[in-house]
């Protein structure tokens, strides 16, 4: 009897040693096969002339990267992406403004919060189709409004000069609710401290914001700056749907897609995506190091 118990106990212990591996196995296998291996494979592919059209693949060294340096289309797409960086301060400013409005103790604040965040959860593709009509030069809403206020009308997406601006307005509409929620969480975390500090020296509203609230929101600023910054590198769907003429909205990711999946030049496209990856990864590592995002990690 005692022996049987001991056996059962030992069995229990070996089982306890195996069980955790069983629990984590699906996740670990999933991420090794579908994220880690592809991420590693990308580099060797970028050193080849891999094309989906021909079966033979040759090692070509760094020539894909060299080609990048002289590819004017690549640099043009970098320039498009650079224009989109203006989105980062704008979405933060709008988010902060909305959060400050919502941080007032007036009635119905929760309803406003629900409304402002709603665009964030919509499909980019479906939402951009609404803006297609708004931007329509001859019968769209925006030009009608401009005319109504006796302002000159614009070509919006159809004019290469305003195409990026049009996409950015759409992105702001869809995205400011996200920064708003982050700022709101930040504001609610510091309210108590503020009340104390301002009660002591009777500071005016603007001074209070400038010297107390704004600096105390630093974790929110950093988080939003970095996530939106990375987001700009990855703009794809918006510019896939609201496509400007003469490649005026073709971002680097759009260009990678064209090269990889329309001309099937996988090697060359991989070189571009690897460059993006290195940039994004360095920014992400900065983020993890610069802020104590998840202290437990």
């Amino acid at each position: 009897m005692q022996q049987a118990n001991r056996l059962a106990h030992r069995h229990r212990i070996t089982k306890l040693k195996v069980v955790p591996y069983v629990f984590i196995a699906p996740a670990v296998l999933y991420f090794i096969i579908l994220t880690i291996i592809p991420a590693i494979m990308a580099f060797p592919i970028s050193l080849s002339d891999w094309s989906a059209l021909t079966p033979n693949r040759n090692y070509v060294g760094f020539s894909n990267y060299q080609k990048l340096l002289t590819d004017s289309n690549f640099w043009k797409s970098c320039l498009v992406m650079a224009q989109f960086f203006l989105y980062v301060p704008l979405v933060m400013l709008l988010g902060l403004g909305a959060a400050l409005l919502l941080n007032n103790s007036v009635k119905g604040i929760r309803i406003f919060r629900v409304i402002f965040y709603a665009p964030v959860i919509t499909s980019i593709v479906a939402a951009s189709i609404l803006f297609e009509w708004f931007y329509q030069p001859s019968f769209g809403l925006f030009n009608y409004l401009l005319e109504f206020f006796h302002l000159p009308t614009l070509g919006w997406v159809e004019d290469p000069n305003t195409a990026v601006l049009s996409v950015m307005i759409f992105k702001l509409w869809r995205g400011f609710g996200g920064s708003m929620l982050i700022y709101l969480a930040g504001l609610q975390g510091i309210d108590g401290e503020i009340r104390e500090a301002s009660a002591i020296d009777g500071a005016g509203a603007f001074k209070k914001f400038r010297y107390i609230t704004f600096p105390l929101l630093k974790p929110a600023h950093t988080y939003l700056l970095i996530t939106n910054f990375i987001g700009v590198f990855m703009i794809f769907q918006e510019t896939y749907m609201l496509k400007g003429r003469l490649n005026s909205t073709r971002t680097v990711v759009n260009y990678i897609f064209e090269k990889a999946f329309s001309s099937y030049r996988m090697g060359y496209a991989s070189a571009m995506s690897f460059v993006l990856f290195v940039i994004i990864l360095s920014v992400t590592i900065l983020q993890y190091r610069g802020m104590k995002l998840n202290k437990e990690l």
């Binding site: 699906p26 579908l34 919502l102 019968f139």
Partner: protein, 276 residues
Amino acid sequence: MNRNKIKRILYKVMIYGLLLSLTVIVAYPFIWMILSSFKESKEFYYMPPRLLPNAFTFVNYTQLIEMWNFGTYYFNSIFVTAVQVTANLFIVTLAGYGFAKYNFRGKNFFFLLIISCTMIPWIATIIPLYIMFTGLMNTYLGLMIPGMASAFSILLARNFIAGIPTTFIEAARIDGAGEGRIFLRIVLPSIKPVLAVITINKMIQSWNAFTWPLLVVNSDSLRTLPLAIAKLSSQYYDSYDLKMAAATMTILPVLILYISLQKYFVEGVALSGVKG
């Protein structure tokens, strides 16, 4: 005293004024979308534009379903979302529990491996993934597999499961409960709010997924709603009536879900964002 009161009222009026104008800007496209889905094609060319349809017609919806196969796209979207949400819950909670409540060799290594996946952007993996999935082009498996687990949700699950007192688990173990039973009966029920957040996040992600489906699907029978909208947009540039009905079909269910469960949406952002 009186002046102070006036000042306070003016302040409130200003706040409400700003809030209401922002509400109009945010909500107008949605309202316009829903109302316009009942319009006839010619009504999109009126100057000045009108918000209300002449007569509510369902013709756009019937046309989408009868001539455009939107019934199939709808089914595909629901099916893919359901499978991905289920698979994600399964993979994520199991791993979260394993990392939170067991000690085993290689734990830190495997955990780091999964954290590192949250830092790899999709653009870095998409070309090799496309090559890997050559054999699964135009299949449900090819469409669904790369969206079946979120590494970030594993962190979320782990952090919450770590908060369950270990004594509960030990006690159940002494009572003779098996490890699987402990997981189902003790762990899962105590992290319900996080399960809701994980489910909702994945649901929205799957429902709105566009980039990978665009690559892996080109047969009509596998198209999901976002793919169908993109096709509608590129091939039928002028059919705003159909586009509005399609957009409504895609966005409205998400909005309804969001309004009824908004607490979990907001919580999801708070959990994944910064604290303080």
